[in-house]
């Protein structure tokens, strides 16, 4: 089906989300829609899927006008959509989710589960989307859930498939797998619309790239367009994709975490309340270095940060900041002792949306001089500080008394950054600091984080964006199911990180075994420290991104990942991941924190 959008316009109040957009999608191609957050990509696709009605414009299918008032119409027209936030019922089986709305029934509306199952199985075999129809959807790894979403569209015989930011939740391995599926679907003659803001992915998979900026189409390019050109089109000016940084000069140990265990229970799935989200982590961060914590979302990163900030109780283990035990200190104490915190969800945890910018800038220090004298706020000083910081951090706001919720995401993040590094900070905890930000703001935030490092602040950077991890980290730790599966230098190949993120390899590898044991030995006893070791020699060579690795068991010895082969999470119920994890369990056997967790 040849799908054509003509002059689509959608306004939300005074904001023009889509401004006369023309787009043409041809069968058998992958068409990327590239743009920053807020460029109008999702709005456009929601219009195409009937979730939003356009103010102007027409949609043509094979030249004939198409009216889409609801997802039902879109489905009938052969349009399928895989949403960024999965539209799957976690407590349903895969077969139930796939056939929902299009169920197989017998008399009286009784479900014919056998036929539902068969349908799913047939489809999944035809397109190499392996998944067990009887598995409970909520138990599946994210990558497999995404397959279920794709199957949902295919079962309705979608000829045009919209994928909204499909790679945001995937490991590199899973992304590769998704690309394979996309190519297969393309070969079957379907049209795929691939929404993304990641340049590399777009270049890797798309046949045609349409770039959106502020609701307008600003260009259409073939796949071989350079990254710089695409970035410039996206942002509207040339941008520095990777912030320059010098080698780190690590100083004394600032943060020392030992055998940290933090209870879970955030997920809301049955059983989640009994699992530990952070399960025996030990690591150190030195002044003047950035430890990047990579990993797919939901592997305990959130809980780690919240525990370090004192927002979650710690089951066992200890946290020392600058040689002071802060394991059970209150958040206010931690702020005072010099932790800066950029929370993952800035609107929820970082800002008070209805407060003005000026007050949001002093949320942490409002009760101390110079902002307070006794019980009274020193409004003059608050205003003066706000003016200064707004200028210094280039916060774009109408005034310092504008409610912070009226600012764009990037500027909101700058408010948080300005506040958190505005006081004396020893440790900066940055969790997903650039999520949802445009390329320009990302550049700014990255530069400030590196500046803080160079001032001698220890930085823990938690990010699920590998680009960000590579751009900033002096050391990389990969988190999987509440543990670090390994520490790596910043020039580790992305494939290896991907395996670690999927829980494959890691602790089992020789180099890491050393690292793992050294994690549990007292400080100073680091004779067998490898590149993944906790105790880093103070040699500078490792810390510059481009530097050669002269010592230790380097990449050649990382054989196991290679031997295991590429991650194949396609197994029903994600058994490969499980296999990887059970393999690792052997090395954990003597870990006291694990035996606590074992059913007796």
């Amino acid at each position: 089906m040849n799908l054509e959008l003509q002059g689509i316009t959608k306004r939300f109040g005074s904001l023009v989300a889509n401004d006369h957009i023309d787009l043409s999608v041809t069968p058998g191609t992958i068409h990327a829609l590239l743009g920053e957050n807020g460029a109008g990509k999702t709005t456009l696709m929601n219009i195409l899927y009937g979730l939003t009605q356009p103010d102007e414009g027409t949609i043509l299918a094979d030249g004939k006008p198409l009216t889409i008032h609801s997802p039902k119409d879109a489905i009938a027209a052969g349009i399928g959509m895989v949403h960024q936030h999965f539209m799957l019922v976690p407590v349903f089986t895969v077969a139930e989710n796939v056939t929902l709305g299009d169920e197989e029934t017998r008399a009286l509306g009784l479900l014919d589960r056998r036929r539902m199952r068969r349908k799913v199985r047939e489809l999944s075999e035809r397109y190499g989307l392996r998944v067990d129809p009887d598995a409970l959807t909520g138990d599946l790894p994210v990558g497999v859930q995404q397959r279920v979403e794709i199957l949902k569209a295919l079962v309705r015989d979608a000829q045009v498939l919209i994928l909204d930011e499909p790679t945001a939740v995937l490991t590199p391995g899973e992304t590769e797998d998704l690309f394979r599926i996309m190519r297969e679907l393309r070969a079957s003659g379907r049209a795929i619309v691939f929404i993304s803001h990641k340049l590399k992915e777009v270049q890797a998979i798309a046949d045609t790239i349409t770039i959106l900026r502020r609701g307008r189409v600003v260009g259409e390019r073939p796949r071989h367009t350079s990254e710089d050109e695409l970035a410039a089109l996206m942002v509207g000016r040339s941008v520095q994709l990777r912030v320059a940084k010098t080698a780190a000069k690590p100083g004394r140990v600032m943060l020392d975490v030992r055998d940290l265990v933090v209870p879970g229970g955030h997920e809301g799935l049955p059983g989640a309340e009994h699992t530990a989200a952070v399960n025996g982590l030990s690591f150190r961060v030195r002044a003047g270095e950035i430890l990047g914590v990579a990993g797919v979302q939901g592997n305990g990163q959130t809980e780690l940060c919240e525990a370090l900030m004192g927002l979650l109780p710690v089951t066992s283990g200890s946290v020392h900041l600058n040689d002071h035990d802060i394991t059970n200190a209150a958040p206010a104490m931690r702020l005072r002792s010099g932790i800066g915190y950029i929370p993952e969800d800035r609107q929820q945890d970082g800002l008070v949306g209805s407060f003005p910018v000026s007050e949001n800038l002093i949320l942490d220090t409002y009760n101390r001089p110079p902002f307070a004298s006794g019980p009274a706020l020193n409004l003059g000083e608050i205003r003066a500080t706000a003016e200064r910081r707004v200028k210094e951090f280039d916060i774009r706001t109408q005034s310092i008394s504008a409610p912070v919720e009226t600012l764009s995401g990037g500027n909101q993040q700058k408010v948080i950054l300005a506040r958190e590094v505005g006081r004396e900070v020893r440790l900066l905890l940055a969790s997903q600091p650039t999520r949802g930000l445009d390329v320009g703001s990302i550049e700014f935030v990255h530069r400030r984080i590196i500046e803080e490092r160079d001032k001698g602040v220890a930085v823990v950077l938690v990010s699920s964006e590998l680009d960000e991890i590579y751009a900033l980290s002096d050391r990389i730790a990969v988190m999987y199911e509440g543990r670090f599966t390994g520490f790596r230098p910043p020039d580790v190949p992305v494939e290896e990180l991907g395996l670690l993120m999927a829980g494959i390899g890691g602790i089992g590898t020789p180099g890491d075994g050393a690292a793992d044991s050294s994690e549990r030995t007292p400080p100073g006893d680091s004779a067998n420290a490898g590149p993944g070791s906790l105790e880093q020699p103070d040699s500078p060579e490792r810390t510059s991104p481009g530097a050669v690795q002269p010592d230790g068991p380097g990449p050649p010895e990382q054989a196991p990942p290679g031997a295991t082969g590429p991650p194949e999470p396609a197994e029903p119920a994600g058994s490969t991941e499980r296999a990887g994890s059970t393999g690792a369990a052997g090395s954990d056997g003597d870990d006291p924190t694990v035996t606590v967790g074992k059913p007796t």
């Binding site: 489905i75 349903f92 399960n279 606590v596």
Partner: protein
């Protein structure tokens, strides 16, 4: 890599682990130290047939004190077993057995040395009758909450069903008209709940309470102003008489309990099956549950969230209304002020106790019905316990059940959350 992946859970915390054995131990000690020790000398008699039954089963006589001692000892053994944690089946069984032992020991104490016998058939027959409004209320709760709307208004639906049932059956002299009117009245409250919860996004808990107060006030006012002055015409309906099902009704023990009752019990049977099968084995149920768990997912595959919710909320009202009608025309006849007396809330508790499943709710409702009936039978014998305390029994049982035994339950994920589309 760890228990995270391997088993997905770690055992219950220590306090929680010893809570259940400790409870069992206390029950066992009460069996022995209270019921056994203070039982009158002599036998307790249990009767298993009603007078004039075609087939009779002989009465059972047991020595009261000795039986209570034995049951107490058995309960303590269960407590010990429970400490060892022998799996789910043993866990469930141990609680059930301990409660059964407790009740039998209680009866031994109450009837020991008495000339009266405790009629088991009457107890179970009464249990079923007392459970009807609770079961229908719990089914109504399931229907409503599975689609994602919290239904606190079951109480009001029962009350208005009772009210309408009495008036219509009395005024027209036609019983089934009362049944239909009661059901429709409940449905009307459901519609109100729907309009405010689904269309106007009012907080559903507050809304439910408001509706209950509204119904209580309305029926109370009309009762004073209309039903009392005209009680002969408007508030003196006849009641449904028991219908004995041929053959099945003659089976000893089972027959009189399950197959010799009013139309309401048979309607309840049908509705239990219909709701259970409907929710879990039909297309309709799959869609309802999808709407209750993840409305956006349902919406994106073309299922109307609002329509589904409206339909279910009204259906729930209709079902609860039947339960309300039972209170008058299925049971005592005339309407009395606030006669639902918290049964709607108990039904709600039964639904939660039953983990939002129809069958689970039915089980819980039967448990509560059993305590209601036990209390009313005990109040007729000379038990040295003030009747006020006996009246508390069903409610205390509700609290213990919900707080102690239910533990962690999971409501439908979108329960109580309005669905707003842009």
């Amino acid at each position: 890599m760890t228990t995270l992946a391997a088993t997905g859970r770690i055992p219950l915390s220590v306090s929680r682990r010893f809570l259940a054995p400790a409870t069992l131990l206390v029950l066992g000690l009460v069996d022995i130290l209270v019921f056994g020790k203070y039982a009158h000398h002599g036998d307790a008699t249990f009767a298993f047939s009603q007078p004039f039954a075609k087939v009779t089963v002989p009465n059972l006589k047991v020595p009261a004190a000795e039986t209570a001692y034995a049951l107490g000892a058995a309960t303590i053994v269960l407590a010990a077993l429970r400490v060892m944690d022998l799996g789910k089946v043993v866990r469930r069984l141990s609680i059930g057995l301990a409660l059964a032992f407790f009740v039998i020991a209680l009866l031994c104490w109450a009837y020991g040395g008495s000339v009266n016998s405790f009629n088991v058939i009457n107890q179970f027959q009464g249990t079923l009758a007392d459970s009807i409004p609770l079961i229908l209320g719990a089914l109504a709760g399931c229907l409503c909450e599975r689609s994602g709307v919290i239904n606190i208004a079951i109480e009001g639906q029962l009350l208005i069903g009772a009210f309408a049932g009495a008036i219509f059956a009395s005024a027209f002299g036609v019983l089934w008209l009362g049944l239909i009117a009661g059901s429709l009245a409940g449905g009307l409250i459901g519609l109100l709940l729907g309009v405010f919860a689904i269309t106007y996004l009012v907080d559903q808990i507050i809304l439910g309470v408001v509706l209950n107060v509204f119904v209580s006030g309305l029926t109370g006012y009309l009762y004073d102003k209309v039903l009392i002055p005209y009680s002969n015409t408007l508030n003196s309906p006849s009641t449904y008489l028991p219908i004995k099902i041929p053959l099945l009704g003659d089976i000893p023990i089972i027959g009189p309990v399950f197959f010799d009752s009013t139309l309401f019990l048979y309607i309840t049977y049908v509705l239990i099956v219909a709701v259970q099968v409907g929710l879990f084995s039909t297309r309709w149920g799959l869609r309802v549950r999808a709407v209750g768990e993840h409305p956006a997912a349902a919406d994106t595959v073309g299922i109307s969230v609002k329509l589904t919710r409206y339909r279910n909320v009204i259906l729930a009202g209709l079902v609860a209304g039947i339960g309300g009608a039972f209170l008058t025309i299925g049971s005592v006849g005339s309407f009395g002020k606030d006669m639902s007396s918290g049964k709607g809330y108990i039904a709600l508790a039964a639904m939660i106790f039953g983990r939002w499943t129809p069958l689970g709710g039915v089980g819980a409702a039967l448990l509560f019905g059993f305590t209601f009936e036990l209390q009313s039978i005990l109040s007729t014998v000379n038990v040295p316990v003030p009747s006020d305390f006996l009246l508390m029994v069903p409610y205390v049982a509700t609290i213990i059940a919900v707080a102690g035994l239910v533990g962690q339950v999971r409501a439908p994920a979108a329960d109580g959350q309005p669905y707003i589309t842009s």
